[in-house]
């Protein structure tokens, strides 16, 4: 059958079935392109959940700076993001309520929440509502082991943190030529602290660490006074003090160790907040110099990291561009990138595009 046989009319310009099919397909494609483009042009509404008040306020505000400082950079890179900020008040229940509120108010994606307990609470809301949730910082293993479909994390789990941190201990011992035989572990008793404790206990024999933990002391991260904890640690007479802290308690611990004249080979954290924060150095002055922390860090040699650091220093000359800033910026970037590639604000499309960036880039330790 010739094409002409299917002509509607010999006298008019004719359209063949094949041409019609091709034209229809092209039309559909053409029609879909502006639509996708128009959807991508709608900015991503990113619900940012961070502990900007309460006992984690100082770290939460550092994370918030990381979320906001990157926006001009992201705009230059062709991303379109609007932040919808909410304060979790360092309280998982408040975090859950704020997440529900942000979703009701039109957030397409969520990002946060720094602490594991609140992050777990918000993950539950994200799963229930089918809204993608990018974790900036939280190491609770359950977040990625529980089978959540909408939760994405670009931060090491407690096991990874512990392993990376403990391996760096060996480097420190090799570099200093001093190896302790015993250690006392002081740790917070929240979700993060308990997950780290589990990781450390499991990894110590596996990694064949040269010292044994003779005493483990748990305490409330909101504690006003840590004198008893430090007295108990001192009584253990261990060579090394290991700490899993937040910021305020890290300051209290070190201050109390100075007052109680605790003598130790070193204070080394296997991977926890506190000892790298600007506030820690401000509050403790010269005493901060005697503490070491092994934490994941953004790669400072990368161009994007250099730009971020420059932008940050210009905007916040009094603050430090630390891992809270770096990982939070990266979480916003992941969300923005998923939105750009999905070309849509649809949660399913965003989830599909957020997945390829997971798992995270190689763990980088920093002491």
């Amino acid at each position: 059958m010739s094409d002409n046989a299917t002509s509607l009319s010999a006298s008019k310009s004719t359209i063949s079935r094949r041409q019609f099919t091709a034209a229809t397909a092209a039309g559909a494609l053409a029609a879909s392109l502006p639509l996708r483009s128009a959807r991508a042009a709608t900015p991503l509404k990113l619900g940012v959940l961070l502990p900007r008040s309460g006992h984690l306020a100082l770290i939460g505000q550092a994370c918030q700076r990381g979320a906001e400082i990157g926006l001009p950079m992201l705009r230059d890179m062709g991303y379109s993001v609007e932040l919808m900020n909410a304060d979790t008040e360092s309280n998982p229940d408040v975090g859950r309520t704020q997440a529900e509120k942000l979703i009701r108010e039109g957030a397409n994606m969520l990002m946060g929440c720094f602490d594991s307990a609140t992050t777990l609470a918000v993950a539950g809301v994200a799963e229930q509502k089918g809204v993608p949730f990018v974790v900036n910082i939280a190491s609770e293993p359950k977040l990625t082991e529980q089978g959540f479909k909408y939760v994405f994390r670009n931060f090491p789990s407690a096991g990874m943190l512990g392993k990376g941190g403990l391996l760096l201990y060996k480097d420190i011992f090799a570099a200093t030529g001093v190896t302790p035989k015993t250690a006392v572990l002081l740790h917070i008793n929240d979700s993060f602290g308990m997950a780290m404790l589990g990781g450390i206990n499991a990894l110590m024999p596996k990694l064949d660490m040269p010292f044994t933990i003779v005493e483990t002391i748990a305490y409330d991260p909101k504690a006003r006074d840590l004198s008893i904890e430090v007295s108990k640690a001192k009584a253990a007479k261990a060579d090394l003090v290991m700490t899993v802290t937040r910021l305020n308690d890290a300051i209290l611990l070190v201050r109390e160790m100075v007052k109680q004249q605790v003598e130790t080979m070193g204070i080394i954290s296997p991977g926890a907040p506190g000892m790298y924060d600007k506030q820690f150095f401000k509050a403790l002055g010269k005493y901060a110099e005697y503490c070491t922390t092994n934490v994941p860090w953004f790669d400072p040699t990368q161009d994007m990291a250099k730009t971020l650091e420059k932008t940050f220093e210009k905007a916040f000359p009094e603050e430090s561009c630390d891992l809270n800033v770096g990982f939070t910026f990266e979480a916003v970037l992941i969300a923005a990138d998923a939105h750009k590639r999905a070309g849509s604000n649809d949660p399913q499309a965003l989830s599909a595009e957020a997945k390829p960036v997971f798992p995270m880039p190689p763990f980088k330790g920093r002491t």
Binding site: S53, A57, I228, K232, A235, Q261
Partner: protein, 289 residues
């Protein structure tokens, strides 16, 4: 763990307990005289801590010398609060008073939050890292200063109520308000003075606590609760009871932290509270109603 270790733990508990006791004194004074339970107690202390913080950062006055100034400021605040607001609710039922003071607490917290933001603030003194060594005993210098000042303030308060005319008149109002009116005492004014004195005690405690803990707006609820535990343990309305309650809480936290687990130490304060409520509901030094 040897004897020296326990001596150090007990001395730290005692010193902290004395400051706790001073904090609770204000609550006890106000309840003892006016039968008003001050739910804004912790919030007033946070105001005092911020006032001491400002005096240190802006004028370089450290918290102990700033104590009379802050106590005076809180006295005026308490006096005016009683005169202008609380006095109108003295005849109201207890739950109305509770709601009034709870509302006041929420308002104070939010004003502090608006003015100072959510950041924790602290002050750094040379003494913050120093301690006294008495043989094997190591005493935290800041705690020693705070505890001795707390003891001094408690003595002054006792002397005021025992030996001054105004103090005697206030005690008369507490014992028999109707009788006090009959003999011509200005009960409303004396109540306002009492509330001022209670607030001044809170102000003094706030100055001393700033030496020990960081201040932030949400600290208030923790200290209101702690204040209640202490005064219920010692006996509501009893000055000696407040100090004793503070020492007991300080000691129980210290010893339970060492013998059981530091993360469970607060639980023992509540355990002690339940025990006292079961065995002696009026508190250790409280009078039976």
């Amino acid at each position: 763990m040897d004897a020296t270790f326990f001596m150090n733990v007990i001395s730290a508990g005692l010193l902290t307990g004395l400051v706790y006791g001073l904090m609770a004194l204000g609550l006890s004074v106000i309840f003892g005289v006016m039968r008003v339970v001050n739910f804004a107690h912790g919030d007033m202390m946070v105001v005092a801590m911020y006032a001491a913080f400002l005096l240190y950062t802006k004028l370089g006055i450290s918290p102990v010398p700033a104590l009379p100034l802050v106590a005076g400021l809180l006295f005026v605040m308490g006096y005016l609060l009683q005169r202008l607001l609380i006095n109108r609710f003295l005849g109201a039922t207890e739950h109305i008073q509770f709601l009034l003071l709870l509302s006041l607490a929420i308002i104070i917290t939010n004003i502090v939050l608006m003015v100072f933001g959510p950041d924790a603030r602290n002050i750094q003194l040379d003494a913050s890292f120093e301690s006294y060594s008495l043989g094997p005993l190591i005493l935290d210098k800041v705690r020693v200063i705070a505890a001795f000042t707390a003891g001094g303030v408690a003595m002054l308060l006792w002397a005021f109520f025992r030996y001054t005319t105004t103090g005697t008149a206030i005690r008369a109002c507490a014992d028999n308000p109707v009788g006090a009116r009959v003999v011509g005492l200005d009960v409303e004014k004396l109540y306002a003075v009492t509330f001022g004195i209670g607030a001044a005690c809170v102000g003094a405690a706030g100055c001393l606590l700033l030496l020990l803990v960081d201040v932030h707006p949400h600290l208030s609820s923790d200290y209101t609760l702690l204040g209640f535990i202490i005064v219920i343990l010692g006996g509501l309305g009893s000055l000696g009871g407040a100090l004793l309650g503070g020492i007991l809480v300080g000691l129980s936290e210290a010893l339970s932290g060492v013998l059981i687990s530091p993360s469970l130490k607060s639980m023992f304060s509540f355990g002690l509270l339940i025990l006292v409520l079961l065995l002696r509901p009026q508190g250790i030094l409280g009078k039976k109603p």
